[in-house]
Symmetry: C2
Subunit: 448 residues, 2 copies
Amino acid sequence: MKTDILIIGGSAAGLVAAMTAKSNFPGKDVTIIRKEEKVMIPCGIPYIFGTLGATDKNILPDAGLEKLGVNILIDEVISVDTDAKTCKTKAGKEISYEKLIFGTGSLPFVPASIIGQDLKNVFTVPKNKVYLDAVLEKMSEFKKIVVVGAGFIGVEFSDEFNKKDIDVTLVEVLPKIMGTAFDPEFSDFAEEDLKARGVKVLTSTMVKEIKGDDKVSSVLLGDGTVLEADAVILSIGYKPNTKLAKDSGLELNEAGFIKVDRYLRTAVKDVYAAGDCAEKHDFATGKISKIMLASTACAEARVAALNLYKLSTTNIFRGTIGIYSTSIGDMSYAVAGLTEGVARSEEFDYVTGTFAGIDRHPGSLTDTSKQIVKLIVQRCSGVILGGSVYGGKSGGELINVIGFAIQGRMTLNDLLVAQIGTQPMLTASPAAYPLIKAAEVCAKQMKN
Amino acid sequence: MKTDILIIGGSAAGLVAAMTAKSNFPGKDVTIIRKEEKVMIPCGIPYIFGTLGATDKNILPDAGLEKLGVNILIDEVISVDTDAKTCKTKAGKEISYEKLIFGTGSLPFVPASIIGQDLKNVFTVPKNKVYLDAVLEKMSEFKKIVVVGAGFIGVEFSDEFNKKDIDVTLVEVLPKIMGTAFDPEFSDFAEEDLKARGVKVLTSTMVKEIKGDDKVSSVLLGDGTVLEADAVILSIGYKPNTKLAKDSGLELNEAGFIKVDRYLRTAVKDVYAAGDCAEKHDFATGKISKIMLASTACAEARVAALNLYKLSTTNIFRGTIGIYSTSIGDMSYAVAGLTEGVARSEEFDYVTGTFAGIDRHPGSLTDTSKQIVKLIVQRCSGVILGGSVYGGKSGGELINVIGFAIQGRMTLNDLLVAQIGTQPMLTASPAAYPLIKAAEVCAKQMKN
């Protein structure tokens, strides 16, 4: 068979690439080829185990693709001939293409050093409905779960299991939970909130061995402690799924991602990559970044698809900002751009400013939340390098305000004189809006 | 007595001007002179009558001023000699200053054509605790209230009275509620939501006369209908409070605001004005704007104070964006920059794009809200002129994302490739984030 634009992978990057391609080049035939009959919404996966209760409630819908007229093929590409511009599939098809986009995503990563990872009831978190259904089916058997790895996924899983009255211990080898994303004080807010809800948290703690005969019965920690466990979730990280790309002759970077330029083009003509499998550079340092986020994947996919037949210097990917957010109960934790930790280790000359206020006003309202904003600002220019938010649920959009300040190359002066919208039921007060007040603190630091 | 920086008025502009001045010029003596013992948080006033229940719960706190060492003088300036740089007060004081900032705010405006406005139980909405306390004290007597004027204040009052099981009719002479702020479809969302909560809404309806002997008993409408009423709230609008400024020789513009430059300086040396009393120009058209918002006032006050002793071209006020938001129940209604109505009447060459999604994901979550984003984009340049949001409570910050896109001079292409942070519990999905999808709709329109 023949298609014009072939997209390998049907998760966030594949979906958005297909929709953007078809919208912008409606005369082209666009095909998604994917292994999964039904695709999981990646960031919704932890919620399957508590709030949602079923994988069927976490399906990335095909309706948008179907409405646009994108072909969906459930099959697997097993080889690509980039000279002949054809793919061979597991089902025996040969598909020729004009443009090819790799959106093959990522796979759970578990270090070989963890002994016992093959025991029954030891799970990873692949974006795979069949696998997740099998885990979910066993959930009622589990009274005690150990979650290994306190990134966003590990934290969200822990909170969801806890909602189901399961005894949860979250184990993290680093000193702080979500410690690669957040500055320590924001990790502490999250740890405190998680503990207050009943999740046990062990940081600076190594997992030495997962023990059990046939199935897991306990987890042996580095200090000799033994945690009883009916199940273990290994949420340690992900690695780019790039074996097919490598076998097809595409170049990978040292971290295993498919090398791409600012248009998401590989070095091979008419072959693009986007999402978790594609190379990323940090917006501020230019260094290779290992960030994997559905939102980043979607932005990359838009850029790739917009540049398929006509390159545009205004539609480039300017480097990964890395805007993360998560939620525990009614609180949100979010970061955009550089943390102070990264700014320090990369030797930026920066100042920081933090302001703690509340997310609605007046303060006499009974259901306000704390809202703490921290900004990282480049001293020589006032350019906003990054920001963090701890607050109520509106923090999920407030971090995007900061994200736009970064992407709009706004400076501290721009923030000091910025106009914001405020309303008692919706936001902090205009006189004490934490983002602007944090900018004022930074401005004072600039004078020192 | 003598002070360095004298600020007349203690509401949003006065407070922020004083704090910014004292923070940035700590060696200067800063004094606020205000009439009110206790200052009302302006945007909190409607909530006194429902959610808060008392004016004491809506006090703009003095703690920040006191902590910084700003002097607070409860008195009233009755005349200013800008040559001698002295003010005379009602209490008989003479105060000399180096720099003077007018933050005298605004007063309720009621057209003389409304007959019966002097009857008992006919109220306006001044930012005056004593007045509001008197209204609140009578509240228990009122079973039926007519609110005249469906701007933000009128809508918020109506919803709060309705919470107290008062029979409320909101009467608006224009065809749509909040019709000067919103495009019609967004006004319709608000009207629908307000009606669903039990508020009666009459648009395109004139009030001919407020009737009663000593106190109000009914309201006669233009079409002859008579509405029974125990009380009437006139929330028709505000006019700048600039009599003192005029008497002091400051120039007013044709709308009655104190003329200022981009540093918020008047033409008289060392005299500034900020907030509702100060002249505003629209950011896009440059035309004189009558927008009065506490958030705008705060931004202007910061600019005025930052430029008191050292002018900076990076700390200028670039024109009023006008970022409004309000809330009815769990929904928010917000706008930043130009509406389509204004873009059309001002003859901008523009495109619009609207996208309707939901504010969390996946859609199977039980407590999602609609989230509708509309963007107005300049055709020739792609510059974002404005945006509107209808959604759940996070809309209050989402409008600030759009506000920053406008203030950061971001273009449609910047939005198409923008990186956003998304999370199931906090935001829309990254593949269907209404702001980005609305940008995609605009991009399609640009090709037509």
